[in-house]
Amino acid sequence: MELTAQALFTGLLMGGFYGLIAVGLALVFGTMKVINLAHGELVLLAAYIAYALESQTGLNPMLSLPIAMAVVIVAALVTFYLTNQIKKDRELNSLILTFGLGIVLTNGLLMVFSADIYSTQSSWFMEGVVIADSLFSMRSEMIAFIVGIAALGGLYWWLNHTWHGRAIRSVSSNRDAAKLMGMNPTKAELWSWGVAGVLAALAGVMLYVTSVIHPPVGHSLTIKAFVITVLAGMGSIPGVLVGAIMIGVIEGLTTTYFQSSLAELASMTVFLLVLLVMPSGLFGKKGAH
């Protein structure tokens, strides 16, 4: 019983963090129908910036956020600019383009930082936190979970209650109608990429303090984010949260009761089963594709 509770708790924390990783990809996918296959690499870029600042100046990784955000926003906007140059079959061709950008980024990081594995030097993040006398986690996992939930909640609120957020939803719903309301669709899309950059930077710094980084991590982050986005259904933010927690909990349970090498296999199996029953994802619209 205690073991199960601990597994569920770890999975829940993991899920909040996974949601943070996935939500930037889901936002751009939902608004522009572009799947940014370089998203995981953008997250990893932020993580490396936190590493570089910590190793060079001893800066607390959390304080490197503003710089990481600035760099990743620029990288996201460059990606937006490049995908926007595609005139034909943007949905398909942007896959190839962003996949290529991901490879360029991975190799760029490999060139600058080598293939070594890094993690934060500050042990503060690794200290244990105990909740309700029995549930254990690392401090960094707790922080990543809280940041993840806050970011998802904040994004959901922003999309529903601000002019910029509503404009993004309007443009993705009907481009011509959005123009007729006085919106500039390109500006709205610029905002969604910029915000995706902010979210990727948050995820990257959290990645650095909770885990270890080396260049191939970006690719597996992209896959994780993509799986969660598809599971969620067409850019749905609540769907991302539920899907991410689902994946996190399945991985937690599998690691506890079987072995950690089976964790991804288990989550992928459940992912495929869900799609079999609900082809447009957990929160996707019926008939949408």
Binding site: W163, R166, A167, R169, S170, S172, S173, N174, D176, A177, A178, K179, L180, M181, G182, M183, N184, K285
Partner: protein
């Protein structure tokens, strides 16, 4: 400047296909102009070109004396040129109320959003009942009401209205036209595109007949002989 809005030898179409040619129309401030004509004559395409949703192939559009051909759609909206499209151009994933709110997106209309929304709910109580429903689930008539309500939220100075009676019951059509009559009394400049010739003629000051991409008749309402219009409309030869 005699005309608030005018076109000069305007041509447009989709891809290689031309829909209308050399249209020179004028719209006077405070007056209601209707463009009638059969399906496929190019009326809606003409309105979309006025709004910049379709790029003209040749010719000029002038609004308040300023050449508009290069102006992006959103600037035209901010200048007070507004289009009420037919009901399919809604934000179908957004709720009815959110659709109305988006009508207040132009900066100068945001302040009076609450008031305008209440006004629209008064005009169309049906929309108030369905305010939290997704716009995509509305019936044809309700969608049309929402498109009109959302357009009014934009506080138009010149309002281009595309086929408002499409898919509406006769009762609803009458109601909508009585709203247009009120707008006309408030001295709004209206450009109304309609297939329902009878209703459209009743509120018009000036009438254009458009057929196969050309204007075949341009007369003040008083001069329009309904019989002759219909003969032209149905291409009857006497």
């Amino acid at each position: 400047m005699k005309y608030l809005l005018e076109t000069d030898k305007l041509s447009a179409g989709y891809g290689a296909m031309e829909v209308f040619w050399d249209l020179s129309l004028t719209f006077e401030s405070g007056r209601t102009t209707t463009i009638v004509g059969p399906n496929g004559a190019g009326k809606s395409t003409f309105l979309k070109t006025l709004m910049g949703l379709i790029d003209p192939k040749a010719g000029e559009i002038r609004f308040k004396g300023q050449n508009y051909v290069q102006e992006p759609t959103w600037n035209r909206i901010n200048d007070g040129l507004v289009m009420i499209p037919e009901g399919r151009l809604l934000f179908s994933d957004l709720s009815v109320e959110e659709n109305l709110i988006m009508g207040a997106y132009p900066k100068k209309t945001r302040k009076s959003m609450e008031k305008n929304r209440e006004h629209v709910f008064q005009l169309f109580p049906r929309l108030k009942e369905r305010r939290n429903q997704q716009a995509g689930t509305l019936s044809g008539g309700e969608a049309q009401m929402l498109a009109i309500g959302r357009g009014l939220m934009e506080e138009p100075e010149v309002c281009l209205i595309d086929e408002p009676s499409l898919g509406l019951s006769p009762v609803m059509t009458n109601e909508i036209f009585s709203i247009f009559r009120e707008l006309k009394e408030e001295k709004m400049t209206i450009v109304l595109v309609e297939q329902n010739t009878n209703q459209a003629l009743k509120i018009a000051d000036h009438v254009y007949l458009m057929q196969a991409g050309k204007i075949t008749l341009s007369e003040p309402r008083e001069a329009v002989d309904l019989k002759r219009l219909e003969d032209l409309y149905f291409a009857r030869t006497s």
